[in-house]
Structures are given as structure tokens and as C-alpha cells.
Symmetry: C2
Subunit: 293 residues, 2 copies
Amino acid sequence: MSSTATASNTTAPTQILQVSGHSYAYRRFGNGSGLPLLCLQHFTGTLDNWDPAVTDPLASGREVILFENAGIGRSSGDVPETVAGMTKHALAFLDGLSLAECDVLGFSLGGMIAQQAAQDRPSIVHRMILVGTAPRGGEDIMHLEKPSLAKHLQDPQNRGYAVLQKIFFAPTATSQAAGGAFISRLMQRQDDREPPSGPNVAKAQTAAFREWEHFSGERFADVKGLRHPTLVVQGFHDEMIPVRNSYWLAENLPNAALLAYPDAGHGSLFQYPESFTRQAAAFLSSDSEPAVF
Amino acid sequence: MSSTATASNTTAPTQILQVSGHSYAYRRFGNGSGLPLLCLQHFTGTLDNWDPAVTDPLASGREVILFENAGIGRSSGDVPETVAGMTKHALAFLDGLSLAECDVLGFSLGGMIAQQAAQDRPSIVHRMILVGTAPRGGEDIMHLEKPSLAKHLQDPQNRGYAVLQKIFFAPTATSQAAGGAFISRLMQRQDDREPPSGPNVAKAQTAAFREWEHFSGERFADVKGLRHPTLVVQGFHDEMIPVRNSYWLAENLPNAALLAYPDAGHGSLFQYPESFTRQAAAFLSSDSEPAVF
């Protein structure tokens, strides 16, 4: 295993791992006694969308591994149109790194991949942190055509990262200010940035969200089978994946605690990075069998 | 202000405060830089129903004040049939202690009194921790006639505290074991115990629950007006006050975080006292304007 000398997503070099004909872009930094933490990214997000205020404090107790799924940034291949397809790439990547076990932080789409990975390969996932996400069979998952979201996405003033301030944060002055600070932190990395995602990425990932809303048989049966200690985190005012999805997720996972934040939208972890990383580190460091910390 | 020499609910003497013709029984112990923490008790509970594994760690950073409302234990008077009436006694008690500001831990019925106190006298409440409770207008609040609860309450084998193990904890082996440990801790206090509550207490407090389920005008408008930083805590498997009441409470309070526990019922704070007191102390010690910690 290789490790970078730096411990920040602002400076960590982007590396490329070749596995079975695929090239996966990733960054890996930090150290400590904890298991490596695999970070799985949101809709259209690249490695550059990880907030250093979230990744860097966590990297003080463990290696943080940011993974870019197929077809995103400098990772090769096509973007899968199902969460299951994306999960195959994530598992191939971990196999390529010879990592037999890790903790997982999955945000939004990344939280769905984390759940699928825990289902497909239970032994490789130790503890999970699932932020702003939904179980299979959830509702109102990333419907960007909704007026409350479309008005921001179609506003020509919201170019590039600026739209994230609108759709990841609540419409209050306090949350919007936190969103502005988040955008500034994403811009701290000067060099070696990833190419932003294009419309083909959005199209394939949206298909994956639609597929994830479907279920057959007993609703939420998939998550009922996951015994992994899990921390579910959500903002009460998430317009992209409403908080009731986190209620369903945490209620049906047999061993999950739920932490929900006030005055926060989809990007609650980026709004309160000090609280989030403190709670996440306590959860990851715990050896309690129940997911309490 | 007087303070006891001990710092445990197992040994703290029961004191009596005379205020405006009422006698209120209470215990007061602990010290530290934090504001005093007023603890408001559940349905039919006396001072002896406070788990030392919860009160004592909190008493290492602040004074803990356990209050017995009118008509309970050795407190004089009739048990009010409304939460508002109980709140008047709690405020009179604080006035009698010359406490102008405190933090409040309200469990179940006590959480309703905490909300009412924050509404009636906003300045006296600094931060609130509301466990296993509901906002005015909540649903399915303490319906002991439900089969899932009645079967335990009507079982002659469940005498005294034994019934609490059944109705405060989830029906799993792990939760029931935690319930047994809780009962043992309640029995650690040997002397100077309170008289248990009789049927008249249950009858009046049940009337208060029924009144609390009613609302007029906009639902949850009362809590929308409370700006106090609040931590809402709940077990996912609470049969006495289902968890959706905590969702409504935390979603409608403008500044509340929610922490929900797996494999736990009504008594989640007693099931996980180490986690609960660690999180509660962090919340109470925080000077963050948002209720994040």
C-alpha cells in the first residue's frame, strides 16, 4: 500500500490505479490507527468536491481514500446506470488496493453505493457513515426537475460550484453563509484538479436514482439484512433527498444511529464540518457493538 | 444556594423546598462550571426513577437538580391534569431556588413540561434535552391501553420496577439485558426513598397526555416559536411515545438536533447511559449558536 506524505485533499496528488483494464482516479492521505475510510461521492461530484474541512480532520486518525467511480473525472469507462454497477467498480478498486476491510463514508449517491457494497460484500465494510442518502425504495430521490431545485439549476447565474451553495444548503442566511464558505474551501486546491462532470454523467446517474427508487417484495428488506454498525446523518431541510429517507434508512437498518442537523439541507456535513467530523471520528473509533458512541 | 456534598442520586439527600404554601421534594448534587441542569421526570416517576448512570456523570460538570412535581412522592398538593399546570409548579420551584436560568433535561412527560416552560418563561431555559417525548399535537402518546403495552402492565409478574424493563426497553435480548441493569441501578439507593406513585397520579397525568395531544390552529406552532438550542433524543422502537413524535419535534423546533438510538425503546437514555451522557455533556457544554456539537 502506498501513502501520500500530505494529509489534505487540498494538496494530495491524484493517483491512478489500474485494475482489470480500468483506470480509477483516487486520492489517499492521512494516517492513524483507524481502518482506512473509503469516501464515495455525490451526484456528478469529482474528487475536488470533497470538502477539506471534512476529509482532513478525519485523516488525522486514519487514511482517507477518495474514490472516483468509472466515467467520472479521470477514471476511465462509462458511468453505470445502476447503483449495483457503480458498486462493482468500487469493490474492484478496493481489491486493486488489496484492502480487505475498510470503513465507508457515503454521501448521497455514494451512500447508496455504500449500502450496496455492504450487501454484496459484507466483509469488506466495517462501519458505515451514510449522509444525505436513501435506502432502496426511498422516495423523492434527486428529482432535479422539481421547481424547488430546477429554479436554481436553470438559473444562469449559478455557474459551476455556485449552484451547490443553493441546492446543498437551506435558504436561510446562516445556511447560505455556510454554503459560501464551503465553496471557498473547494477552491483551495489550485493544481491537479479533476475535469468537471458533463451531461452524460448526470444522465447515467439520474437513471441510477430512478432504478434505486424501485423495490420488489418487502420494502426496505435490503437494509434490514445489513448488520454493520451505521451512522446515518441528514439535514432536516434537504430538498434533494428528503429527511424521511434517512428515517426509513435508520429505522430499518438493525444497527444504526441517526444524527439530524437543524437549519441544514443536503450538504449538512459541509455546513457543520467541526461537529460532523467530531461525531464521525467518535463513531469510527468506537468498538461498541451497538452503533452508539 | 445550597449544595449537597455527594454527587450521586444514590446518596444525595432528599430536600424539601417551601414555596407559596407548596412543599417540593428535590435532590441537588454535583458541581462544575455548567449551568444547573433541571431534570423533569416521566409518567408516575419519582426522584428514585432517575438512573444514577445518567445523573451522576452529568453531575461531574454541573449541579444536577431532580425535581418532584406536585402530588408526586413527598411533594405536596394535587397532581395537575395539564402539562401547563405542572409547568407552573416547576417554574415556582425554580423561583424558590432563585434560579434565573438553567439547562433542562426532560424525559417523556418531563419533556413536555420543558417545552411548556420554554414557552411560558423563555429566559429561564438555556438549553433543552428532550428525550422520548412529543410536541403538543403529537400522536399515540402514552396510550397504555394499547395491547403492546397493556400486556406488560396487566401482567401480575411485573410488579414494581420490573414493568419498566418491559415497557422502557425493546423486546430484544440486548435491550432487555440493558433494562435489567437499569432496574438494578434504580435499587442501589437504600435509604430515604420516595413513596411510589399511586393510581391517582397515573389518572391525572394520563389526562395531561390526552390534553397534550390536542392542538388548535397551526399544528406544531408552539415549538416553532422556541429558539432554544435543543437536543432531541429517541429510541427507534419506542412503544410509549413513537419516534415520529421526535421527528416532528426536531423538524419544527427551529434549532434542534436529533439523535436516535438503535435497538432501544422509551428508555434509550437508560439503555446507553455512557453514550447519552457523553453526547448530552458535549451538547450542554457547547457555546455554538446552532444546536450542533
